[in-house]
Symmetry: C2
Amino acid sequence: MIRLLLADDQALVRGALAALLDLESDLEVVAQVGRGDEVVEAARASGAEVCLLDIEMPGLNGIDAAAALRRELPGTRSLIVTTFGRPGYVRRAIEAGASGFVVKDTPSRQLADAVRRVHAGLRVIDPDLAAESLIDGPSPLTGRERELLTYALDGSPVATIAARVHLSEGTVRNHLSAAIGKTGATTRSEAARIAQDRGWL
Amino acid sequence: MIRLLLADDQALVRGALAALLDLESDLEVVAQVGRGDEVVEAARASGAEVCLLDIEMPGLNGIDAAAALRRELPGTRSLIVTTFGRPGYVRRAIEAGASGFVVKDTPSRQLADAVRRVHAGLRVIDPDLAAESLIDGPSPLTGRERELLTYALDGSPVATIAARVHLSEGTVRNHLSAAIGKTGATTRSEAARIAQDRGWL
DNA sequence: AGCTCGCCGTGACACCTGTCATCGAGCCAC
DNA sequence: GTGGCTCGATGACAGGTGTCACGGCGAGCT
């Protein structure tokens, strides 16, 4: 009997996944949480062996939760289950110590197998995503560029961003200009979108 | 036995919801589709009585799918099940003939009850969302404004948008300026975001 | 017929943005 | 220490953007 923890912020999806996995005779959902910062505690209390983690969660994202799990409970394995198959996410998830990466587009029958493989100590990674994350390479963005791009995601004017990070307007423009060059974009909004698509933010 | 159809573009979520609902002794999932434009055909072929529709789907969105269902198979009822509880979505869903509107944040135990109520001819609508959609009122945007805002969502420059819709640059700026005023924004990106949040796009 | 309203266009103006050249401070390698 | 690198900052300039005033067209209503 493999003991599972589910972490997803959408209660309906969480409950549905639990129903799906409980159908398998060798799997057992022993904990469910809706926030990333509750994962470690719930995993410890429930004695979960494999944790299924969504990426977008309040409190702590799934990748950071996987890192926390590796640090606090090294025996527990993590499987990222997310909507967005962004190359940078895969890379960061593996670096954070996750054992697997599955997108929510995969057929539901394959999920249980993925869980079993992860539990057995194998790596489970969507092959297309793995290839993409290899050719893309790691993020070329510097820390500031990444930070400013996240603020530029919603199209905020430069002045607003500059005020938020306590920088000069010209400096913000320069960093964003560099990011625009690195992403091959022509606008800071486009650059932000591209960076997000690749999982660089 | 209530016959159900599931429409959601994420196979994993679809399969999981099927597992959840099949646990109920009076519910039976008789069809699953991953595209909005396959809903009517699948509902006809399977004889589904209640259709659970996600909004974001390729081919046809869930609201338009509900409208198509009312037109083609008036006896079939629709229940919108979506991630985003946007006020405008609720209004449009009801106008399109949907019998219910549930967000994916709701506890999974309540889903089966919602399905039963819809099947019985009742309306099931998240009370908070219903209130919001009432105070917000309908979209104040004209057709062009709405169209141009969707193109402005990713922060495209005015010239690009103008070329895409075969309009003059000045005209595009004027329409977007009107939309900016109506949304209370100061930038076309912000206006687009606000309009999207309210379900006006 | 007048009237309103949505839609398309032009021109002008103030302001914002992206790019470039340039500078200084800190840090690491040789 | 010198050279090379990144980060932060400034200033200047061309081009993009939001706003306003104005005009014209067609559809629908009184």
